[in-house]
């Protein structure tokens, strides 16, 4: 039986704190965490035996999508938007992913694209997954970018998701997911943070 904790990880602070200086944040997880989507069940999404054997903490985030693993080699990017008139939340995927894709392109990573509902890909492989939670007029976008984590870690803890985007075409984790490092780019996480932050600031979202 896996204990699932309420989501209170550092990336959520900017959503909960109206006095926050910035409406975006970057968080490099200090250890491994497993994060379920709002409607995921541990038994459906995780290899629970391995998760419990390795004593990993499992959280359920407020937003949708499938389970992810956070590690020191991933980057969690969060952006809060204030939406007047309860606008269509889907468009915020384009805005936020646009910041990130532009930053990665400027770093020299080619073949970057957005596929599925809100994934960022290199070629046909996923490097970032994102989701949105909206409460009243605040829209919380958060994403996990795989900078250099081994895909075997994902396959070790996470089952094949019940729902998948069309472009996945049944591929297993090893074939579907990649990292910036695995694609031959050796940027440090802080270089990536700096590039994305510049992109956000230059677009006046701060």
């Amino acid at each position: 039986m896996t204990t699932v904790h309420k989501y209170n990880l550092p990336d959520f602070d900017i959503f909960n704190n109206d006095q926050a200086n910035k409406n975006y944040s970057f968080w490099i997880p200090d250890k491994k965490y497993l994060i379920l989507g709002q409607s995921n069940k541990p038994e459906d999404s995780l290899f629970e035996e391995k998760v419990n054997e390795d004593n990993l903490t499992v959280y359920k985030r407020p937003s949708g999508g499938e389970a992810v693993i956070l590690t020191k080699n991933t980057l969690v990017i969060s952006i809060v938007f204030t939406a007047e008139n309860f606008e269509n939340p889907g468009k915020y995927f384009s805005i936020a992913n646009g910041f990130i894709m532009n930053a990665l392109r400027k770093l020299g990573i080619s073949n970057i694209g957005q596929k599925g509902i809100s994934d960022i890909t290199i070629g046909n492989k996923k490097i970032l997954g994102s989701s949105i939670y909206r409460r009243k007029d605040k829209i919380f976008y958060h994403a996990v970018l795989n900078v250099s984590e081994s895909i075997s870690q994902i396959a070790y803890y996470l089952k094949h998701p019940k729902k998948e985007p069309d472009y996945r075409k049944g591929r297993n984790h090893q074939e579907f997911v990649t990292s910036i490092r695995a694609e031959g780019f050796t940027f440090e996480i802080h270089e990536i943070i700096s590039a994305i932050e510049n992109e956000i600031i230059s677009n006046n979202h701060n």
Binding site: N85, F86, K91, N124, K162
Partner: protein, 422 residues
Amino acid sequence: MRYIFKFPDIGEGIDEGTIAEWYIEKGQTVQVGDALCKMETDKVVTDIPSPKNGTISARYGKIGETINVGDPLVEIEIEGTEADAGNEQQTEAVEEEGAGVVGTLEIAGNNAFLPASDEGFDEKEEEDKKPKKKALATPVARAMAKELGVDISKVTGTGPANRVMKEDIQNHFNQSGKSKTPSNSNISGENEVEIEPLSQLRKSIARNMVQSKQNAAHMSVFDEIEIEELIRIRTKYKERFAEQNVKLSYLPFVLKATAMALRKFKALNSEMDLENNQMIYKKYYNIGIAVDTPDGLVVPVIRNVDKKTIFELASEINEMAHKARNKEISLDDMKDGTFTITSFGSIGGMFAVPVINYPQAGILGIGRIVQKPVVKNNQIVPGNVLPLSMSVDHRIVDGGEVTRFLNQIMEYLSDPVSLIID
């Protein structure tokens, strides 16, 4: 008057959402912008705000229930100036765009507004004049009524507060002697028909088949092979396998022969990725087997066929057949296929033009083994002949390649020992 608020399109290109939480109860007063419920779609969890001031007179769907965009979410009893306004203003209000609410709203039509009371009306006399009363029903029941052409307002509900349930629609439809046919059907009302809602499996089959035919350039070749040696070997080992509760058919041999041929003809084990202008050649050989079930076609996948023995393949086929019969085939069982075999010969028929399991590059059809005259050593003798039908995506595979591939499979099947030698 009542305002029916429907689940709006929240703009991800998806057409359904799951109710995660209700924030309001029947009888509760709401203001424009108050959160009605929390809705979850594939990637977004969002509060759905009220588009109107008023009192909640009904809410549809339970927590965990999936509803479609356009299904009723709540009914709001509107008070004040809007309610006092004349009919013209009522109509205006109904047809307005959903300003200030999530995306573009599908607003209910005129009959979404109901008189607050039926007082003063002789129901029979006025039945045709007044707007039809909106029946209280579950979203599933509404969809089913639409599918079956049932007028939901004439159905007596047996659910809570007389809500019309799925079973009520089915019962009403059965009792009505199938008097209704869908308005868009071209079936004459004079002919007796039976109408069933599409199952998820049938919808999925339909979608996949059309996707294949629209995207792949189908091309087929046919051939026959005399399989005397294969029959001898199968007969020899059949009993031995049976002792271990494994039924040995010809399919494991065909699977093995196909996987080994795929290793030599990589185009047949590939897919075309037009988005990125590239071919994806797969170095693993997972072969799907099209299985006929009472509910429709399912295609469980046998993985790493090239690395498995005939016994292992036979065992797995038996297991998949058992799962299929008991409706236990999971999504995981059907994923990651790189090629497909359809063995329709076990039912009957010799040749077919199989439809490719897109985006795979090919599919092999196995017909019924028949006895027919063959020429051996310049003599006409009776032979056991296995018909083969092969369809490929001609964008990926040329005619010569597929013919050589089929020749290779036939070579393996005519000399089954080569399956363990090569």
